[in-house]
């Protein structure tokens, strides 16, 4: 008596057999035949040949049969548009049926038939259904508008459906309101047509209490886009939505959290109201963690954001993040992240004993992360560092290979944070030298040896042992080895001259890697020119490493807080870079309270002919046919870890290992003279940025011609900043350069689209160097298709400075 019987006919004439059954006079037989057709369809068999026969069954008063035929139509109408027209009459007739179920079904199905020709016939019935007396029909019709908009946006606007939808927002039935909100949100996503205003907010808040759980999610998400006029309004909204925190549906809870987190920003920080509200926020989030693991995962990713923004909300709840051995691995990893974030002096003992427990589990990735976490705790909570180091040593004694390697890596960080405190353990580390086979662990160990070369008697032997297989090592290890040997030489010049010469020749003459060669040459020149300066550079005091890792950049964090519960928040990526640019050319950045600065360094905005230019605002109000080249998705991360110099005065990134030694070389006094006036700082910055663009090849030039570039015109090869395919046909190549004492941004803009472009504007996001365009971009006439043009935008460095990590990460 099951449906599996519909699969049993697999004889040759199956389609033929079905055809005869479909045309049978007996209703019962017909229905069975349609069921068979549907069953074949669900498993992906092609039954489109039966189209006319199935459509013939449509005129029936049997609701089940009708539904089945509709299901079939939705699937195959696209492949048979001409035949689909046959069905239109029945649809139109059904839209007038006295039974609201049939009316709704007809309008619903019509919207699902994605055939251009049918959409024309859909308008009239849809308009009628939107004003239907039955709320069930109205709510179905509301969704249908969104469907129609997806197929033919202009039609929807011309026919005034958006206004009709807007009217539905005031509908007496909360379910209708919820669906209208959902439809409007979807339409708005593609093109903002309606903005949420305070009047609407009131209606939404009223509907919120009475509609279904899904409707509540739509309404809450719409509320999140609204910026209240004043404190009182914000407080009012908070009060009215906070009961939703006790909803059984996790999506409702998280959407409520989102709106509250956003509104809290608007209210005075120390008020009683806020304290109470924050107290209310913790329990629902904890509850999410007892839901199904998939829900836990999304909740944890969001809690990770919330903890970064407001650590006080969950500081008491450490224990709920303890890992259970049968949690899925993705939940374990996230819990661990949050545990580290919440670790503080008061709970560190508990956390450590947990982490130690985890380090003996089976799953390798999880164990590694746990070991790393122990290191993070040491760095974060100074009082615990002693115990952390002891724990790490215990773990090293287990001799489990990956545990040892991971421990070595974190111990290096601990040395960085607390120099000259735990050298006593170096001997234990050295015992395990041979077992290290991962580049990161080897590099860390070499760094430790180099750093403490004066206290390790056989440091030269240890380093020499690595040199034999120098060319087989990973670049990371090679660079580290080079630096370590130079350090050793500077510390113990008497007996290591041979060694340093060997490593320098290995790095400069026998290596193909430009990074390695360049670093080798820098050291060589430094050592031969001025050993005292070399000492200053190479053995310079290192900036402290930061206590927190993986912290999101604040403006990105603020942006994500406004998008809690979205896919963007799961990936911790900027929401606007997130959506498939090809499908949805733009999405207005939430310009609520904290829209602040977009994250990238450079936002290039190009408008086509119809739009107006507006370069002053971070978000350009989108108009028709506007193109925002969403450059954020492009990441011109430099492959060379350029960063701050010891003297340059930039905040140093927490680069790992001894990389900062090199940085001392680049921006430092050794090469460029001791200059730290703002102008020169900018220069260094521009150079660094340029070198990042030019990539490895450019690096050699940079070193070779640092001085000429300041006066003359070093022409760096332009880098592709933006690919045409990602920006609706606008291709952008460019480089940052210094000419006659001014910083210029040279760009080549090519129009690869079909239409002319005009109204260009350039905007730089807040960046590490305070770089901002000094003049508006000069563009002659519209850029015709296929044409390309060279422009230079002069820049100044007096703009707002915001630290980026890494420093030269050019997010265009």
């Amino acid at each position: 008596m099951t449906d599996s019987k519909y699969f049993t006919t697999t004889k040759k004439g199956e389609i033929f057999e079905l055809k005869t059954e479909l045309n049978s006079d007996k209703k019962e037989k017909k229905r069975e035949a349609v069921k068979k057709v549907i069953a074949s369809m669900t498993v992906g068999k092609d039954v489109s040949a039966l189209f006319p026969d199935v459509v013939n069954c449509m005129q029936t008063d049997n609701v089940e049969l009708k539904k089945l035929v509709y299901l079939y139509l939705m699937n195959y109408a696209k492949s048979q548009p001409d035949l689909a027209i046959m069905a239109v009459n029945t649809f139109v007739k059904d839209c007038e049926d006295p039974n609201p179920l049939i009316r709704a079904l007809a309008v619903r199905t019509m919207g699902c038939i994605r055939v251009e020709k049918i959409t024309e016939y859909l308008c009239e019935p849809l308009r009628k259904c939107m004003k239907d007396e039955d709320p069930y029909v109205r709510k179905t019709a509301a969704v249908c508008v969104a469907k129609l908009h997806d197929m033919n946006p202009t039609l929807v606007e011309e026919q005034g459906f958006v206004e009709l939808l807007n009217d539905l927002l005031s509908d007496a039935n909360p379910m209708v309101v919820a669906n209208a909100v959902a439809a409007l949100t979807e339409i708005n996503e593609q093109r903002p047509l309606i903005e949420v205003n305070s009047q609407m907010v009131n209606k939404l808040l009223t509907a919120l209490n009475e509609c279904t759980e899904w409707g509540q999610v739509f309404i809450l998400d719409a509320l999140a886009d609204y910026s209240p006029r004043d404190e009182r309004e914000a407080q009012n909204i908070c009060e009215r939505i906070s009961p939703r925190l006790a909803h059984a549906n996790a999506a409702v809870v998280l959407s409520t959290v989102k709106v509250l987190m956003k509104l809290i920003e608007l209210l005075p920080n120390d008020s009683e109201f806020i304290t109470q509200l924050i107290r209310k926020l913790a329990p629902p989030m904890v509850t999410l963690l007892s839901a199904e693991p998939e829900i836990q995962y999304v909740a944890l990713r969001n809690i990770n954001l919330i903890v970064q923004k407001r650590p006080d909300i969950l500081k008491q709840e450490m224990k709920v993040f303890f890992v259970k051995y049968n949690d899925p691995i993705y939940v374990k990893m996230e819990k661990l992240d949050i545990m580290i974030r919440l670790a503080q002096q008061s709970n560190i003992a508990q956390v450590l004993s947990e982490l130690k427990e985890y380090a003996t589990e089976v799953d390798v990735d999880f164990v590694r992360k746990s070991v790393r976490a122990i290191g993070r705790c040491a760095i974060k909570v100074e009082q615990s560092s002693e115990r952390c180091v002891a724990t790490l040593l215990e773990l090293i004694q287990t001799k489990v290979n990956y545990v040892v390697q991971e421990a070595v890596v974190v111990i290096k960080d601990i040395f960085r944070k607390y120099p000259n405190r735990y050298e006593s353990i170096i001997s234990t580390l050295c015992e395990n030298l041979d077992t290290l086979d991962e580049p990161e662990a080897r590099a860390s160990m070499i760094w430790i040896i180099g750093e403490y070369a004066e206290r390790i008697d056989n440091a030269d032997e240890l380093l020499e042992s690595f040199l034999d297989g120098f060319h087989d090592e990973n670049t990371q290890v090679q660079l580290q080895l080079l630096t370590a040997v130079v350090k050793l030489f500077l510390k113990r010049p008497q007996d290591t001259q041979q060694l340093v010469q060997k490593v320098l020749s290995l790095a400069t003459q026998d290596s193909d890697n430009p990074d390695l060669r360049d670093r080798g040459y820098i050291y060589w020149r430094l050592l031969s020119a001025d050993p005292v300066a070399a000492k200053q550079v190479v053995l310079a005091e290192k900036p402290l490493i930061s206590e927190e890792t993986d912290l999101l950049e604040p403006s990105l964090l603020d942006q994500l807080i406004c998008h809690i519960g979205s896919l963007a928040s799961v990936y911790h990526k900027p929401p606007n870079s997130f959506i498939d640019a090809a499908r949805q050319p733009l999405r207005q950045i939430n310009n609520g309270i904290s829209s602040g600065a977009p994250t990238g360094l450079l936002d290039t905005v190009a408008h086509s002919t119809t739009s107006t230019t507006n370069s002053a605002q971070p978000t350009v109000i989108p108009a028709q046919d506007t193109l925002i080249a969403d450059l954020l998705s492009l990441d011109l991360n430099s492959s060379i870890p350029t960063g701050a110099s010891a003297t340059g005065g930039f905040p140093a990134p927490s680069a790992s290992g001894g990389l900062e030694d090199l940085l001392g070389g680049i921006g430092g006094d050794g090469l460029m003279g001791d200059n730290s006036s703002p102008q020169d700082m900018g220069h260094g910055a521009a150079m660094a940025a340029a070198s990042a663009n030019a990539g490895m090849g450019g690096l050699a030039d940079l070193f070779g011609s640092t001085i000429p570039s300041a006066t003359g015109g070093l022409n760096l090869p332009k880098q592709l900043w933006l690919d045409a395919s990602k920006a609706k046909g606008m291709q952008l190549e460019g480089s940052v350069i210094r000419r006659n004492g001014r910083i210029l941004m040279d760009m080549t803009i090519t129009n690869k689209a079909m239409q002319a472009m005009s109204g260009f504007a350039v905007q730089l996001n807040k960046n590490s160097f305070g770089l901002f365009p000094a003049e508006a971009i000069q563009m002659p006439a519209p850029l015709l298709p296929g044409q390309s043009i060279n422009v230079s935008v002069p820049c100044n460095t007096g703009g707002p400075v915001q630290r980026m990590d890494p420093l030269t990460n050019l997010q265009v």
């Binding site: 099951t2 449906d3 599996s4 519909y6 019962e28 229905r31 549907i38 669900t42 498993v43 609701v63 089940e64 699937n75 696209k78 039974n99 609201p100 179920l101 919207g111 039955d134 709320p135 069930y136 179905t140 969104a146 469907k147 669906n179 279904t212 899904w214 999610v217 998400d221 009961p243 909803h247 059984a248 996790a250 999506a251 998280l254 329990p283 904890v286 509850t287 007892s290 693991p293 998939e294 995962y297 999304v298 909740a299 008491q316 259970k324 051995y325 049968n326 899925p328 993705y330 089976v362 519960g565 979205s566 896919l567 963007a568 799961v570 990936y571 929401p575 997130f578 498939d580 499908r583």
Partner: protein, 414 residues
């Protein structure tokens, strides 16, 4: 919103596909299968996967995955909640949500999915309404339909759908009016080697089975409502009255539903009703294992359905153990050691003792122990229902409350 839904099984077959917007080719599932291959067990597949143009959001249940595909920004929790709702609905309709159940009822599944989503938005997810729209399969009804030519699909719009109480259908009639409430508390705990509690919390539920005619309006009062500071309610509960009077007032859905779930956090001391002593040595050829389990502060109630489980390391070949109570089994392929203790009577606590044969000579870490148990007529938190009143209807219903304490995720580290 949701564009498409695929139901796939663990062996990589697509059981069903349904599209609410344009058709997305089933090759999109390949991204998912890639992730599945990388995962060590079926549960470990990440629930959100990004592909160049789509996002795949999945839930795992009983050897199948429900895989939702979306192309635009969509709240993932909403999709996950919805997918879990689909699983629940299928379970209610076909008794289980599994590969074969779906294949056997593919047309109903298709009809259900069509009712549950419209254009990717959840449409009807209330079981009460769905059952009105599409009757669950039933042997007798099938026969009857065959004879009378009726169908499983309702011809009229379900009445409850648009009223202010969408969860309840109208015109419910029973000859025996009854309302049963189960207060279930699950203890989630981690116990460390020494037997002290690392973490313990209570996850509580009040599940109801209401078979009441008409439109009853129920009011439930609790003896100690203060215990509940972290509660999630079924939409039927009037939140205002709870806030002001700490009284649960609601018009119940018809049939089975979860009235509320609550969470009693780790800060409050949770009494652990069971203790576990263990001495496990797994090294070199043969290992020794000795487990003892017994009641602790069970407040005069008996521990029942006690099951002790360990997932042994791969090196373990076999176990030869002697239980003093109950039965034990060891599955050499899944390496699961299961000791079915049953009821623990007063007197000598049950033990499981013996040797374990191990391949190789290396020592293995002893695996953590999972304990399951059940205590009837007890809530660890002390939560109690005071009274239940009914308004709006004249008849006198039969009422009953049952209390159960169970082990949730209860782990003992070794």
């Amino acid at each position: 919103m949701l564009n498409s839904l695929f139901i796939v099984n663990t062996s990589g077959d697509v059981i069903l596909e349904k599209h609410w917007k344009s058709v997305i080719h089933r090759s999109i599932c390949d991204y998912f299968f890639d992730a599945q291959r990388k995962a060590s067990s079926p549960e470990d597949v990440p629930p959100v996967i990004s592909t160049p143009h789509h996002y795949l959001i999945s839930v795992y249940h009983n050897q199948i995955y429900l895989l939702a595909v979306t192309t635009s920004e969509t709240p993932p929790l909403m999709v996950l909640e919805f997918l879990h709702r689909v699983v629940q609905t299928f379970t209610q309709y076909f008794d289980e949500c599994s590969d074969s159940a779906i294949k056997d009822n593919i047309v109903i599944v298709f009809e259900l999915l069509d009712e549950m989503l419209d254009n990717g938005y959840p449409l009807v997810t209330e079981l009460n309404i769905l059952q009105d729209l599409i009757k669950p399969p039933n042997f007798l009804r099938n026969i009857a339909n065959q004879v009378t030519g009726r169908t499983n699909v309702s011809e009229v719009l379900p009445t409850g759908q648009l009223s202010n109480i969408p969860w309840r259908r109208q015109g419910v009639k029973y000859t025996n009016n009854e309302a049963y409430f189960d207060v279930i508390e699950e203890i989630d705990a981690i116990i460390d080697k020494q037997g002290s509690t690392v973490f313990a919390e209570i996850q509580g539920y009040v599940d109801c089975c209401c078979k009441l005619s008409g439109m009853p309006d129920l009011t439930m009062t609790l003896v100690n409502p203060r215990l509940l500071d972290d509660v999630s309610f079924h939409p039927c509960v009037r939140f205002k009255r709870w806030e002001n009077e700490r009284v649960l007032s609601f018009v119940p859905p018809d049939g089975n539903f979860r009235l509320l779930s609550y969470h009693i956090a780790a800060q409050n001391m949770v009494a652990i009703p069971v203790y576990m002593r263990h001495s496990i040595q797994l090294k070199g050829g043969t290992g020794r294992l000795e487990l003892t389990v017994g009641p602790k502060q069970s407040m005069g109630k008996m521990l029942e359905e006690v099951v002790v489980e360990m997932s042994m390391p791969k090196a373990v070949l076999n176990c030869s153990l002697v239980p003093s109570h109950g039965k034990y089994s060891f599955d050499p392929t899944s390496k699961l050691l299961q000791w079915n203790v049953g009821k623990i009577e007063l007197g000598k606590p049950p033990t499981l003792k013996g040797t374990v044969s191990i391949s190789g000579t290396a020592a293995c870490e002893p695996p953590p122990i999972t304990v399951k148990f059940k205590i009837n007529q007890l809530t660890v938190s002390g939560l109690k229902v005071n009274r239940l009143d009914m308004y709006g209807e004249k008849y006198k219903p039969f009422k009953g409350v049952k209390y159960i304490t169970k082990a949730g995720r209860f782990q003992v580290r070794t």
